[in-house]
């Protein structure tokens, strides 16, 4: 009896398959449209990192008129097989360039780049490249340093909370830049780090923020993709530095400013170069001068003296007068890592694995 049901199901599947086969044959694809794939680690409306990329994507689509079509896949885990199968899906659907926007996509993208030599790949925040795979990133540490100035001027308890995702160089660099910004205006304040081991998990992020606030922190900063840290600050009546996207309208009770991303220009140039046939594998690392990173306008919650100090520092960074990571820099043990008068090399910055001395927290 049950066998008959099985046969029926099989027959049904076969019928549907043949119907599907016919319909797929009749649709013809337009050659002039370039298909672009975007892989996100969280939802496209996460209020942070993925949304910043999605805004950049939308800007690019607008700039390109009808010349491009984009395919987005949200919530892809940082696991090789998931990344590779997502990319196969996208290539299968005609994508000729694919942007992967999370660090942990690296292995999967490298493997897929080998599998599809005719497709272009760009990996945000990674360090591995090949003939058809480049990387792109921004010096978010520049606006982070500026946001540190705001936090340092704001704190009364001299304890600032920093909810951070993973102890990788990108995040560590951001924390150090922030801490140095704090130090430049308030040498007595400490930056207290809590790791969540996730880029996007509002529940975990919020719990980490609450714990830091209970330890006496009165300003929060974050390297997380959601607004949960600010949510915790709001409930506790504290103030916040955001990340990725402006939260001036979504978190008006706590939001002072945030280091922001603007990928629209980069995506437009990059996709245009694919269309023109001039795309080359490169390692793009733009700063505030290039517009890919910026500090949001300060809100009324920021201390009155902050604007002038931020403006001065911003001008100094843009002109090259101020190098955030120039000596003398000490690590948490007090050992001098960068001696006075020297600057850190790009290589040392990209593999940073130590905290400056006003950071409280472990590297694990």
């Amino acid at each position: 009896m049950k066998k008959r049901l099985g046969v029926l199901m099989l027959a049904l599947i076969l019928v549907v398959v043949s119907v599907a086969g016919c319909s797929s044959g009749s649709t013809s694809k337009k050659d002039e449209v370039t298909k672009v794939g975007f892989i996100y680690v969280g939802p496209a409306d996460d209020g942070g990192w993925s949304q910043a990329h999605d805004n950049g994507r939308a800007k690019m689509v607008e700039n390109m008129g009808g010349k491009v079509e984009t395919i987005v896949k949200e919530n892809v885990p940082e696991e090789k097989s998931a990344v590779v199968s997502t990319i196969r899906d996208m290539v299968d659907q005609g994508c000729t360039i694919i942007y992967g926007t999370s660090y942990g996509f690296m292995d999967g993208m490298v493997e897929a780049a080998e599998e599809f030599p005719d497709v272009k790949f760009e990996h945000c925040s990674g360090y591995m490249t090949s003939d058809n795979m480049g990387t792109y990133f921004g010096k978010i540490e520049e606006p982070r340093y500026l946001s540190g100035i705001v936090a340092g001027l704001t704190t009364k308890t001299n304890k600032i909370a920093y909810v951070a995702a993973m102890p990788i160089p990108e995040v560590i660099r951001g924390i150090n830049a922030f801490a140095l910004g704090v130090k430049s205006v308030n040498p007595a304040a400490t930056v207290n780090v809590s790791w969540t081991n996730t880029w996007y998990d509002p529940t975990v992020e919020k719990a980490a923020a609450e714990a830091l606030i209970q330890q006496g922190c009165d300003v929060t900063a974050q390297h997380q993709d959601s607004t949960a840290t600010m949510e915790a600050a709001k409930e506790a009546g504290k103030l916040s530095i955001g990340y990725d996207l402006s939260a001036a309208t979504t978190m008006p009770e706590v939001y002072m400013t945030a280091p922001l991303w603007d990928f629209g220009g980069y995506y437009t140039d990059s996709v245009q170069s694919v269309i023109d046939g001039t795309w080359k594998s490169q390692q793009y690392w733009g700063g505030m001068n290039d517009g890919i990173v910026l500090l949001d306008d300060l809100t009324a919650l920021a201390p009155g003296s902050a604007q002038a100090q931020v403006d001065t520092a911003e001008a100094a960074i843009k002109s090259g007068q101020l190098n955030i990571f120039s000596g003398e820099l000490k690590d948490q043990t007090g050992a001098v890592i960068v001696s006075a008068g020297t600057k850190m090399t790009d290589e040392a910055l990209l593999s940073m694995d130590w905290f400056v001395d006003n950071v409280v927290g472990s590297l694990k």
Binding site: M1, K2, R4, L5, G6, L8, M9, I13, V16, V17, V19, A20, G21, S23, S24, G37, P43, A44, T70, I71, V72, K73, E74, N75, P77, E78, E79, K80, S81, A82, S85, T86, R88, D89, M90, D92, Q93, Y103, G104, M106, D107, Y127, M166, P167, I168, P169, I172, N197, S351, D353, K364
Partner: protein, 354 residues
């Protein structure tokens, strides 16, 4: 007031009608959400099928999703047959993957065939031990295995997290918490998107069919599931049967850890299970704990998973909508089981009858 009353065993025709209408009703309800998301439901449903069978690659992707689910479901099925509620497939899967990775770390230079063979044995053992622990406590002290196996999932996950973020963290990954990718000599051979785990799954299906339906121990497991007293009365060694069933159940789930690590993911990580250990429970249960239906239903679930993944990219609907469609279909199918087994009786009709 309404009362819920158990029904007689439903007739085949009723079963077919109810299940088919459940699927149709699910598609109808899901259509509303699809429309709200701005897509055409008919096109989308055809898209699901295209996403699974539209090309050789997509078919391979469907099979790749089916294989682990199939073997996990068979593992869960063995325990369920004995009324031993193994909710721990997820943890046994993870432990199998840990065992697999351990083999490579201890003996990195083994030739491929020997490596794979040893990995199969060790992953089976790791998965089996993970279920033997609650099985032992149940046989010896009568502890509740549902909670026990469920909790062991979290212990396994915590262990893998500790390995990934600390003990086995790849020093070459530049701070990224990941375990190093397996070397070439530890990867399942594959061709055209199909890897060797398919062959392993076929062998396991045949073996399990024999085990459940033809072997003495399979019979003993079934009897024990029906009634422990009957089992004792006819001289079945209850403790031994529980232990053997747990061995096979946990072992099969453990082997999935090996298949996925060496065939698909290429490295152990906390994300490796994708929640399949829990999906397997539904598959095994919907299949009435019968091997052939486990095969059919694993395939149907794989179609649902692959189709949902495909429509996200092909139709640009948000991932959450694809998940909602999946959930609605599942909800209706599970709901139809209720309709098949129970019926509502109101006080009014009751008193009228009386």
């Amino acid at each position: 007031m309404l009362h819920i009353v158990k029904k007689d065993v439903p007739k085949t025709r009723e079963k077919i009608v109810v299940r088919l209408s459940a699927v149709l009703a699910a598609l109808a309800v899901a259509s509303i959400i699809v429309l709200v998301a701005g897509a055409n439901p008919i096109e989308l449903y055809i898209g699901i099928v295209q996403g699974c069978f539209g090309s050789l690659y997509r078919f391979a992707a469907t099979i790749e999703k089916m294989v682990p689910l199939l073997v996990l479901s068979l593992g869960v099925m063995v325990a369920f047959k004995m009324r031993f509620w193994n909710i721990g497939a997820e943890g046994q899967f993870l432990m199998g993957a840990v065992g697999t990775t351990l083999v490579v770390r201890l003996l990195p230079d083994l030739p491929l065939p020997l490596m794979l063979l040893l990995m199969i044995v060790v992953s089976f053992a790791f998965g089996a031990v993970w279920l033997m622990i609650p099985a032992f406590f149940k046989a010896r002290f009568g502890t509740n295995e549902t909670l026990f196996t469920l909790m062991l999932n979290y212990i396994a996950l915590t262990l893998v997290t500790a390995l990934q973020y600390d003990f086995w963290k790849d020093p070459a990954a530049n701070g990224m918490p990941k375990i190093a990718n397996l070397p070439e000599n530890a990867l399942l051979p594959s061709a055209g998107g199909f890897n060797l785990s398919i062959l392993m799954a076929v062998i396991i299906v045949l073996a399990m069919y024999y085990f459940m339906n033809r072997s003495k121990i399979g019979f003993e497991i079934a009897v024990l599931g029906e009634s422990e007293n009957t089992a004792r009365y006819i001289g079945i060694n209850v403790t031994k049967t529980i232990i053997i069933a747990a061995l096979v159940s946990g072992g099969l789930c453990g082997i999935v850890g090996m298949m996925q690590t060496t065939g698909v993911s290429g490295a152990l990580s906390t994300e490796i299970t994708g929640g399949l250990g829990f999906t397997a429970i539904i598959v095994a249960w919907l299949s009435g704990l019968k091997v052939p239906f486990v095969v059919v239903n694993s395939f149907a679930f794989a179609v649902l998973l692959q189709g949902a993944s495909y429509i996200q990219t092909a139709f640009q609907i948000p991932g959450s909508v694809a998940e909602m469609i999946q959930a609605i279909i599942l909800f209706f199918i599970l709901g139809s089981e209720f309709v098949l087994q129970y019926r509502f009786v109101s006080d009014k009709t009751k008193s009228e009858v009386a």
